[in-house]
């Protein structure tokens, strides 16, 4: 279980509107995906950066609870994998070098990582791209390579920042599908931040709606339509409507 308690993050005086989190609390049960849905600029990305250890919080804590023991989440002691918006593959490294980098950074057995890499490349259908550079492959392939890198780390926590929204529809459905089938084999605690209702409904077991300011969680919804593509059920439309209402009550009232 990942516990986020009273997390506050403020950027030191910098120009431009810096997104800030104020006393954010969230919990994600073991083996679940929480989709955090929110408008752009609401602090979703800051949340990911903080959990990944790039941005430091002013107060509050993030702990991973396992077998009744709580340890503060830290990239030095936990395997944290991130799939950022543009995938974040280092352009000067091949897909293989990118995927094996976390193991190298952590000083793990490269031979073992190599074998796992070969396997996951087959599963994600990028076997022919292992030695390609990221700038030379397509957007969909890039996402799959980023997934390979993330899953290879066997992460305790998986963080995703709208990794699929830049894809065209067909490629996106394919990527979602591949993601879920691979994710099911490890079931890392996962946070997916997105502004896409559809994505949240497909990939999130639960959906939390974040407000425009301060990263406040406005509502949290169970999602019975997890991993179902465009279900016809009237409940699906109703849930979508509730989420939309929760996201932008003011706009909806104006319509």
């Amino acid at each position: 279980m990942l516990l986020i308690e009273n997390l506050s993050v403020a950027y030191p005086a910098r120009q431009g509107a810096a997104a800030v989190l104020k006393a954010l609390s969230l919990s994600i049960p073991e083996g679940e995906v929480l989709a955090v849905l929110g408008p752009s600029g609401c602090g979703k990305t800051t949340l990911i950066h903080t959990l990944a250890g790039v941005v430091h919080s002013q107060s509050g804590r993030v702990v991973l609870e396992r077998d009744g023991r709580q340890t503060p989440l830290n990239p030095k002691t936990h395997a944290i994998a991130v799939i950022p918006q543009n995938c974040g593959l280092l352009p000067w490294k091949t897909v293989r070098q990118n995927c094996l980098l976390p193991a190298r950074l952590r000083g793990q057995d490269i031979g073992k990582a190599q074998a796992a890499f070969e396997q996951i490349c087959e599963a994600l259908k990028i076997g022919h791209l292992k030695d390609s550079y990221p700038n030379h492959i397509s957007g969909g392939q890039l996402r799959r390579a980023a997934m390979a890198r993330a899953f290879l780390q066997n992460p305790d926590v998986l963080l995703m920042d709208e990794p699929f929204t830049a894809l065209d529809e067909i490629t996106r459905y394919e990527a979602w599908d591949l993601f879920l089938s691979t994710w099911r084999q490890q079931r890392a605690v996962t946070i997916l931040v997105t502004h896409s209702l559809e994505e949240a409904l497909y990939l999130g077991r639960e959906i939390a709606v974040m407000g425009q300011t301060g990263g406040a969680i406005l509502s949290r919804h169970e999602n019975p339509f997890f991993s179902q593509l465009q279900p016809d059920a009237p409940e699906y439309a109703a849930l979508k409507k509730r989420l939309l209402h929760s996201l932008a009550p003011a706009q909806e009232a104006a319509l």
């Binding site: 543009n86 995938c87 000067w92 950074l105 550079y133 890198r149």
Partner: protein, 247 residues
């Protein structure tokens, strides 16, 4: 066109136009200060007799030392300027203030500090190259996509690992581009730096011929320095193409 052919093509084109203007200058002015290209080319046989290879080697050694020192100092300082708020605040104004100073004007100080031999020559070449290195490294770092830090920090990378896997490869292209330009400047400055305290170097060769009013020999030396300069420029260009195939 591949890299090698492209450089040969530009070299041939440059060579042709330079000679064209040169011949025109000779025919139009008729002064002994501009000897005809054919007189000068007749002199090129003498270059080898005059140990031109040794002159070239010693000039390259000075440039090489200046370059190594510049990289050894410029890269860490550039990294510090970008990553440390305090170092950035202190160094930035200093660098921008001293950047426009013509480095050859500091020659007396360099001579005073490092003597008349290679010390002061390397110091001047160092001063010319190091600013380009610092600034291109710092600017290169500022344009790194934050996602690259995100994926490496979350994977447990230490500071040194980040510098090795993210920072250095990311700034390399900009660094190579600026080196291409600053090394060309360094070659041009040999003319001053080798004007004293030595009997070898391409700059010395030109100045020596000039002082003997041997204009044909002087132009032969100028030809040599431009060919060597072009060769340096082209090799850095080809090296950088090879280094970032990933682009």
């Amino acid at each position: 066109m591949n890299g090698m052919n492209k450089h040969l093509y530009y070299f041939a084109l440059g060579f042709f136009t330079v000679n064209l203007f040169w011949a025109l200058g000779y025919l139009l002015t008729g002064t002994p200060v501009i000897p005809s290209p054919w007189t000068v080319y007749a002199q090129t046989g003498k270059l080898l007799q005059n140990n031109i290879l040794l002159h070239i080697a010693l000039s390259l050694k000075r440039i090489g030392l200046g370059l190594l020192l510049s990289l050894a100092v410029g890269i860490p300082v550039g990294i510090l300027m970008a990553y440390s708020k305090i170092a950035g605040a202190v160094l930035r104004p200093f660098v921008y203030f001293t950047y426009p100073i013509p480095k050859t004007a500091l020659l007396p100080i360099a001579m005073f500090l490092w003597g008349m031999h290679d010390g002061s020559k390397v110091a001047i070449l160092f001063l010319i190259i190091v600013f380009q290195v610092m600034i291109s490294v710092r600017d290169g770092i500022e344009s790194i996509d934050p996602a690259y830090y995100l994926v490496t920090v979350s994977a447990g990378a230490s500071r040194m690992q980040i510098i090795r896997h993210v920072t250095l490869p990311a700034v390399l292209p900009a660094l190579m581009t600026s080196l291409r330009i600053s090394i060309a400047t360094a070659v041009a400055v040999l003319f001053f730096a080798e004007g004293y305290g030595t009997r070898y170097g391409m700059g010395y060769y030109i100045l020596d011929a000039w002082s003997r009013l041997d204009y044909a020999g002087m132009y032969a030396g100028i030809l040599v320095i431009s060919v060597v300069g072009y060769w340096l420029f082209a090799s850095i260009d080809m090296l950088s193409k090879r280094l970032y195939r990933w682009r």
